[in-house]
C-alpha cells in the first residue's frame, strides 16, 4: 500500500469552557491515501467540522488538540511551529468552507484574494500569480475567468463563489483538501455539478480529499471510504459500498433509512428518535445508547471498544447488526 497522504491517530480535541470540558473529538484515527476521497459523516455537533479544523491547526481558544498525531506525508503537524504550519496551510492542505457567502472577504476583489494566496506560498511575480489564478478559475469552469478576477464577491452568485473557493483550494495543487460541507448552502443542480467536477479533479490530480457532510446521499457517488461520527467518535468506518449496503452500526443504519429514497413511497420514513446528546453531558456507556433500537443492558454500562472486521472495516458497538 502506498503511504497515506494523511494519517490521523487517536486525535482528541477538547474545549475548556466555563460549563466544563467538552471533548468534541474523542480519539479518532483514519488514513487518506492519494486520490482517495473520505467522507466524514455525522449529525450537527458530532465533531466533524472540529476534526477538519484540528487537522488544519485552526482550533482557537478555548479549544485545544490534546492528544494524538496528525501525520501529513509522515510529518507530524501537531506540535509544529505556527510559522511552519502557516506555510503548509493553503499550500499542502487546503480547506473549503461551508458557506460561500461568508468565506470570501467582501471588500477585496477575487483577484486580490487569489493572488495573495499564491504570493504567500510561491516566490513568483504578481503577473505570474495572476496567471495561475486565471488558470485555476478556468479549471473549475468559470466562464471568462480573466474578467471574473476583477469582480468583488458580492457580484457573484453563491455557486460561483464556491467555485472560486474551490479554485483557490486547487490552485497550488495541495496534497490534501478538506471540504467542510461545501455544497450544503447551494441549490441541488449546482450541488451535483460541483460534486462531479470535484470528483474528476481529485482523480486527475491524485489529491486526497476529506469531504465533511451530514448528507449520505452525496457520499454514495463521491467517496471511497466513509467514517461515521457520533458524539466525537468514529462509530463506523468502511469502504463506501459495504457501509451503505450493510451497515453494522445501528446509527449508520438509522442514517441510511432516514434518506427519503430508501423506503417505498407512502411508507413512513424511519427516523432516529431523540437528538444528538450534549457533549457536556454524555450518557453513560455508549453515547448512542438512549437513541438506539438495538441497545442492551451492557450499552448503558461500558463504552464499546473498537472492533476490527477485516483490516479496513471497524465499528464501536456492543450489538452490531448482522452482516449477511
Amino acid at each position: 500500500m502506498t503511504q497515506p497522504v494523511l494519517s490521523v491517530r487517536n486525535l482528541t480535541t477538547e474545549f475548556h469552557t466555563k460549563a466544563g470540558i467538552v471533548r468534541a473529538v474523542d480519539g479518532i484515527s483514519f488514513d487518506v491515501g492519494p486520490g482517495e476521497v473520505m467522507a466524514l459523516v455525522g449529525e450537527s455537533g458530532s465533531g466533524k467540522t472540529i476534526t477538519g479544523f484540528s487537522i488544519m491547526g485552526l482550533i482557537d481558544e478555548p479549544g485545544k488538540v490534546v492528544d494524538g498525531e496528525i501525520l501529513l506525508n509522515g510529518q507530524n503537524l501537531r506540535g509544529m511551529s505556527e510559522k511552519k504550519l502557516q506555510g503548509l496551510r493553503g499550500d499542502r492542505i487546503a480547506m473549503i468552507f461551508q458557506d460561500p457567502m461568508m468565506t470570501l472577504n467582501p471588500l477585496l476583489r477575487i483577484e486580490e484574494q487569489m493572488v495573495e494566496t499564491v504570493l504567500a506560498h510561491r516566490d513568483v511575480s504578481k503577473a505570474r500569480a495572476r496567471e495561475m489564478a486565471t488558470e485555476a478559475l478556468a479549471l473549475v469552469g468559470i466562464p471568462s475567468p480573466a474578467e471574473r478576477l476583477r469582480n468583488y464577491p458580492h457580484e457573484m452568485s453563491g455557486g460561483m463563489r464556491q467555485r472560486v473557493v474551490i479554485a483557490i483550494a486547487l490552485m497550488l495543487e495541495p496534497d490534501l483538501i478538506i471540504a467542510d460541507e461545501p455544497t450544503t448552502a447551494l441549490d441541488v443542480t449546482i450541488q451535483s455539478q460541483i460534486l462531479s467536477e470535484m470528483q474528476k479533479l481529485m482523480a486527475e490530480r491524485n489529491t486526497a480529499l476529506i469531504w465533511v457532510t451530514h448528507d449520505l446521499t452525496v457520499v454514495a457517488g463521491l467517496a471511497h471510504k466513509v467514517a461515521v461520527m457520533y458524539a466525537g467518535r468514529i462509530v463506523e468506518y468502511a469502504d463506501v459500498d459495504p457501509l451503505l449496503d450493510q451497515p453494522i452500526h445501528p446509527y449508520t443504519s438509522g442514517l441510511i433509512s432516514s434518506i427519503p429514497s430508501s423506503v417505498p413511497r407512502g411508507q413512513t420514513l424511519r427516523q432516529i428518535p431523540g437528538m444528538a446528546p450534549s457533549l457536556l453531558n454524555l450518557p453513560k456507556g455508549c453515547s448512542f445508547q438512549p437513541r438506539c433500537f438495538a441497545a442492551s443492558e451492557q450499552c448503558g454500562v461500558s463504552r464499546p471498544d473498537e472492533t476490527n472486521v477485516d483490516g479496513v472495516r471497524r465499528y464501536r458497538c456492543h450489538n452490531p447488526l448482522e452482516v449477511a
Binding site: 470570501l104 467582501p106 495573495e116 504567500a120
Partner: protein
C-alpha cells in the same frame, strides 16, 4: 449622483438660513453691542454717528433685511469690533484651527487604530485591559482639565514644551502654518494632543469593537486557512472591514473640532477660530458670530459629503448600489 448633490445642497442652504435667523435674533436679545462699543466719553453727536455707521440705529427687522441683502451678495457683514469683513476675519484664523484639527485627527488615527486593534485581537492580555481602561479615562475626564494637566506636566514640571501660543510660523502658499517650523511644531503638539485624547479614546473603542467582531467572521478564518501571514490578515482583511464606522465618526469629529475647538484654543491661547468665536460672543460682535456659524454649517455639509464619498471607496457594495440608484 447629481440629483443627490443638489438635494444635499438644498438641505444645507435651508439649515444655514434657519440657523442664521435664529442666531441673528438670539444675539439681539442677549445684549446691546452699543453699550460695549461706544466710547462713553464721546459727545452725544459722535456717539449717534458711530451707532448709525454700524447700522444699529435701525429697527431689528430692518437690520435683518440689510443682512439678508448682504448675504445674497456674498457679504456676511462687517465686524463691529475689528472693522473688517466678518468672513475675511474668520478665514484669516482658519489655518491655525485647520492645522490643529488635522494634527489631532492624525494622532487619533495613528494612535487609536493600532491600540484598538490590539485590544480587539488579544482581549485577554493585560495590555489590552490597560488600553481599554485608559480609553475610558480619556472619555470621561473633562477636556479643559486634560488641557490644564498637560500644561502642568509638560510646561510647568518638565519644562519641555511651551504652554501656549502658536510659535514661529512659516508660509505655505502664502498662508502661515506652525507645523513647518520646529518651534511651531512644539507649540502645536500640546493643544493637538489635548483635542486628540478624546478622539483617540473614541477610535480605540470603535477599532476594538470592530476587530473583535470581524475576527470571528468566516473570511478571517478562511484567510488563516490559506496560510496568509498575520500581518496580512490584520493589516488588510480586518483593517479594511473596520474602517467604515471609524471614518464616519472621525468625519463628524473633524467638523466639531474645526468649529468648536473653543476650549482648547482658550486654554492654550491658540489664535484659531474658536478663540475668535468666544471673543466675538463676549463683545456681542454679531456679524462675526453669525458668519462663523454659517461657515460651520457649510463645513459640516462638506465633510459629510466627503465621508459619503470615502464610504464608496472603502466598500464596493455601496458603490454598486449607487450605480443602480
Amino acid at each position: 449622483m447629481l440629483a443627490y448633490l443638489i438635494r444635499r445642497l438644498g438641505q444645507s442652504v435651508l439649515v444655514m438660513s434657519v440657523m442664521a435667523t435664529i442666531v441673528f435674533f438670539g444675539l439681539y436679545m442677549v445684549g446691546n453691542p452699543v453699550d460695549l462699543l461706544i466710547n462713553p466719553e464721546d459727545d452725544l453727536a459722535a456717539q449717534e454717528a458711530a451707532i448709525a455707521r454700524l447700522g444699529l440705529d435701525q429697527p431689528i427687522l430692518v437690520q435683518f433685511w440689510h443682512f439678508l441683502q448682504g448675504v445674497v451678495q456674498g457679504d456676511l457683514g462687517t465686524s463691529f469690533v475689528h472693522n473688517q469683513p466678518a468672513l475675511e476675519l474668520i478665514l484669516s484664523r482658519l489655518p491655525a484651527t485647520l492645522e490643529l484639527a488635522a494634527f489631532a485627527m492624525l494622532l487619533a488615527v495613528i494612535i487609536g487604530i493600532p491600540l484598538g486593534m490590539f485590544a480587539g485581537l488579544y482581549p485577554k492580555s493585560p495590555v489590552s485591559k490597560g488600553i481599554m481602561a485608559g480609553s475610558i479615562l480619556g472619555f470621561s475626564t473633562p477636556n479643559f482639565w486634560q488641557g490644564l494637566m498637560l500644561i502642568m506636566l509638560f510646561a510647568v514640571f518638565w519644562r519641555v514644551l511651551p504652554a501656549g501660543g502658536r510659535g514661529e510660523t512659516a508660509e505655505l502658499f502664502g498662508i502661515p502654518f506652525s507645523f513647518l517650523t520646529l518651534d511651531g511644531l512644539q507649540h502645536l503638539f500640546l493643544p493637538a494632543l489635548n483635542i486628540a485624547i478624546y478622539k483617540i479614546s473614541l477610535v480605540i473603542r470603535l477599532s476594538q469593537a470592530g476587530t473583535a467582531e470581524v475576527s470571528l467572521q468566516d473570511y478571517v478564518k478562511y484567510a488563516r486557512a490559506r496560510g496568509l501571514s498575520t500581518r496580512r490578515i490584520v493589516g488588510t482583511h480586518i483593517l479594511k472591514n473596520i474602517l467604515i464606522p471609524i471614518v464616519t465618526v472621525l468625519g463628524l469629529e473633524l467638523g466639531s473640532v474645526l468649529a468648536f475647538a473653543v476650549v482648547t484654543e482658550t486654554v492654550f491661547s491658540w489664535p484659531g477660530m474658536g478663540k475668535l468665536l468666544i471673543d466675538s460672543i463676549g463683545l456681542l460682535d454679531r456679524p462675526v458670530v453669525v458668519a462663523y456659524l454659517m461657515l460651520t454649517v457649510f463645513l459640516f455639509v462638506v465633510i459629510n459629503l466627503v465621508v459619503d464619498l470615502v464610504y464608496s471607496l472603502l466598500d464596493p457594495r455601496i458603490r454598486t448600489k449607487g450605480k443602480n440608484a
